[in-house]
């Protein structure tokens, strides 16, 4: 069957999983921000796995008394998961404080031992109580399809609770995470805030495991937060962006799991929602890691390339200025002197022409007035830097290489500082004149 976007929010079968997942993803993305800025990412992984024995044991014990399909049953199982996860947290704390186990070791120990215990209980009931086992498995990889309208209310309430708590503790969290001792000095109760944050983390995990499951839950905490860290530079914006990414992931996970089989005309293909949610979040995170305007890997690589090209442009100008050939130079001469391929040289020359730094006559390139000014600036920075290094006590034969780099980097402010510091010098250490800025011959 085909559904429109709106159907996902109105259709009686689709709306509960969709809205439930969105609410759950928002709350985990918000809490994830705190986990990430506190550099405690592994904690989410450990605590979500620590909830598994609670689920297995909870289902086994409760199923003896309740019908597994009732709403109360689902909530009670989540309660067991919460307690189990909390126990895991206390054990981590105990291991660190009492047994002096290092942070990462304590986290890994709790993660694997609790999860192992859960697996043990689950495999015990696998053959004897297949129905219960299925219930347990639903929490392992997440299952949204069986959500009903009551879940929308539960998850909405939990989301509101998370938002209100975060809103009330926002300044405390900001101050304590950035500068703990200052926070304590102005009277913030750090123990209270930290306990509240940990409880909130456990709560967000327990809310989330119903949708994305124990195994993938940590990803849902980390991925949106990591993506938003790439895109923002204040905590407030980080919370907002992370929440939006979480909501998008929650919706897309449901949308893709229903619509991809439809588009592929493979109705029997089953795409579980949990992994789809996490894949969406991870994909968005990957995009942010690669393309974020400030910190993205690709954007930074592009900036490096641009910088390198700029260096080459400036080097060409510098060479032309030094040669002082009135009749200009040929492309091939530039290529060999700059050690560039003729194609690259051609590209660079075209750029210089378009900037108006060069003119061309009979295939010969001639420095324009504008280009000459630019070249003099570069040479000035080069020689100023050499003089500065010699001033600092460096040998004058060895300062050239550093100046080759710095001439492309120094800003006008730094140039001014250097000029003042060196008292507006006329000559560099090699007795070459330092060209003055235009108009100050």
């Amino acid at each position: 069957m085909s559904y429109s976007l709106l159907d996902f929010f109105t259709d009686p079968v689709l709306r509960a999983p969709t809205l439930g997942s969105i609410f759950m993803c928002i709350s985990s993305s918000l809490v994830g921000v705190i986990v990430v800025i506190r550099k405690r990412s592994l904690l989410g992984e450990a605590l979500s796995h620590a909830s598994y024995p609670g689920i297995a044991l909870g289902v086994t014990l409760l199923a003896a008394f309740f019908t597994p399909s009732s709403d109360g049953f689902a909530l009670a199982v989540l309660g067991c998961a919460f307690i189990s996860s909390l126990l895991g947290m206390l054990l981590i704390d105990l291991l660190q404080k009492r047994f002096r186990v290092k942070d990462d070791a304590a986290l890994c120990f709790v993660l694997s031992s609790f999860f192992g215990l859960g697996v043990l209980i689950a495999s015990r009931i696998q053959t004897t109580h297949a129905l219960w086992y299925k219930q347990v498995q639903a929490f392992l990889y997440g299952q949204t399809a069986t959500m009903r309208d009551i879940h929308i209310l539960i998850y909405a309430a939990l989301l509101v609770f998370t938002c209100v708590t975060l809103g009330l503790l926002y300044r405390e969290i900001q101050i304590l995470t950035f500068d703990r001792s200052f926070g304590q000095s102005i009277g913030i109760n750090s123990k209270f805030v930290e306990t509240a944050v940990l409880l909130l983390t456990v709560l967000a995990i327990v809310i989330g495991i119903r949708s994305v499951g124990v195994v993938m839950m940590a990803g849902m905490l980390i991925a949106p937060a990591l993506a938003s860290r790439q895109l923002t530079h204040t905590l407030k914006h980080m919370f907002i962006v992370s929440g939006v990414i979480g909501a998008i992931s929650g919706f897309c996970g449901n949308y893709f799991s229903v619509m991809i089989p439809f588009y592929l005309k493979a109705e029997k293909l089953s795409l579980p929602t949990g992994p789809m949610i996490l894949l969406t979040a991870s994909f968005l995170c990957l995009l942010a890691l690669l393309f974020a305007p400030q910190r993205g890997l690709i954007t930074r690589m592009l900036r490096v390339l641009k910088f390198k090209r700029n260096c080459q442009l400036e080097n060409i100008l510098k060479a032309l200025w030094k040669e002082e050939k009135k009749e200009g130079v040929l492309l091939q001469e530039v290529a060999s002197s700059q050690n560039l391929s003729s194609f690259k040289t051609w590209l660079r020359m075209r750029k210089l022409l378009s900037k108006g730094w060069l003119s061309i006559e009979n295939h010969r390139f001639i420095l324009s007035d504008k280009g000459e000014k630019k070249a003099r600036e570069v040479v000035r920075l080069h020689r100023l830097w050499e003089l500065y290094l010699v001033h600092l006590g460096h040998c004058k034969d060895k300062v050239h290489a550093s100046a080759e780099e710095m001439e492309h980097v120094l800003t006008p402010e730094l140039e001014k500082q250097l000029t003042d510091f060196l008292r507006n010098p006329m000559h560099d250490p090699h007795d070459q004149p330092i060209p003055h800025k235009e108009g100050k011959e």
């Binding site: 800025i37 550099k39 009330l168 300044r171 405390e172 900001q174 101050i175 995470t177 950035f178 500068d179 703990r180 001792s181 200052f182 304590q184 000095s185 102005i186 009277g187 913030i188 860290r229 923002t232 530079h233 204040t234 905590l235 914006h237 980080m238």
Partner: protein, 257 residues
């Protein structure tokens, strides 16, 4: 000004795992002084600050601020932590860091409107950083980071300032401009309590000095206590035995051989 000392520390002992880091410290500081806390690495200078400000629980001892316990005097106290103690990659702008200085006075839930923002910008202006207000803190240099911290402390408008190595890793020009701000504060009758590591500038910067090496070596006006003898006692070989004993004791008391 009354005779109540700005800071009174009585028999303060701080232990880490049963090993004294500070041992039986006792001193008082008259208000309006600039106090330098001097001592070798590991002498407990930062610990003294943290114990005074109740961030770590002392084994014994009592601290009074203008004759009041910490909780009642909190609004009159500002603290500038070591610059290296915070994560400078934290997602926060310069202005937001400075605004933190307001919450101690206004409360954490106070609404910060344009008036408060103006106050914060004003504090930034005093340290010459107003053009950096919207900058992300990771883009600041070491000296600029320190100046942001000073601006935050200025905004706290306290009577007693505690600063942990405000000149560490800071260029000469910044050190001079920070020192000028501190002199202005002193001129307004504020008391400054500063952990310091550069022995050459002690006499020029401070009018009172506390020399520390686990126990208190000297406390008093610079002119009286800043002597060769006190220095050699503070930095002398005597402390090596103590260090060794402290390490040994730490191993024994935690059950290692």
């Amino acid at each position: 000004m009354s005779d109540t000392p700005a800071l009174l520390v009585k028999q303060l002992t701080v232990n880490y795992d049963k090993v004294p880091v500070l041992w039986d410290i006792h001193f008082s500081i008259p208000a309006g002084n600039t106090v330098g806390v001097i001592g070798p690495n590991g002498a407990g200078k930062s610990t003294l600050l943290k114990a005074i400000l109740q961030m770590i629980d002392p084994l014994s001892g009592k601290v009074e601020f203008f004759g009041l316990p910490f909780k009642k005097a909190r609004a009159r106290i500002a603290y500038v932590p070591q610059r290296s103690s915070v994560d400078w990659d934290f997602p926060i702008t310069t202005l937001e860091v400075v605004m933190m200085g307001l919450y101690g006075r206004l409360g954490l839930f106070a609404w910060c409107g344009s008036k408060e923002k103006k106050e914060a910008l004003n504090a930034l202006d005093m340290v010459g950083m107003s053009s950096f207000a919207d900058r992300q803190i990771s883009q600041l240099s070491g000296g600029q980071q320190q100046r942001v911290f000073i601006a935050r402390a200025l905004l706290q408008d306290a009577d007693l300032y505690f600063m942990d190595e405000p000149f560490a890793g800071v260029d000469m020009a910044t050190e001079q401009s920070i020192m000028q701000l501190l002199r202005d504060l002193k001129a307004k009758g504020k008391t400054l309590f500063i952990v310091h590591h550069d022995l050459n500038t002690v006499e020029a910067y401070f009018d009172w000095v506390i020399m520390l090496n686990t126990s208190l070596v000297a406390c008093g006006p610079v002119k009286e206590v800043w002597t060769e003898l006190a220095l050699s006692e503070t930095y002398g070989r005597g402390s090596f035995v103590l260090d060794e004993a402290v390490k040994l004791s730490l191993r024994r008391t935690s059950g290692f051989k």
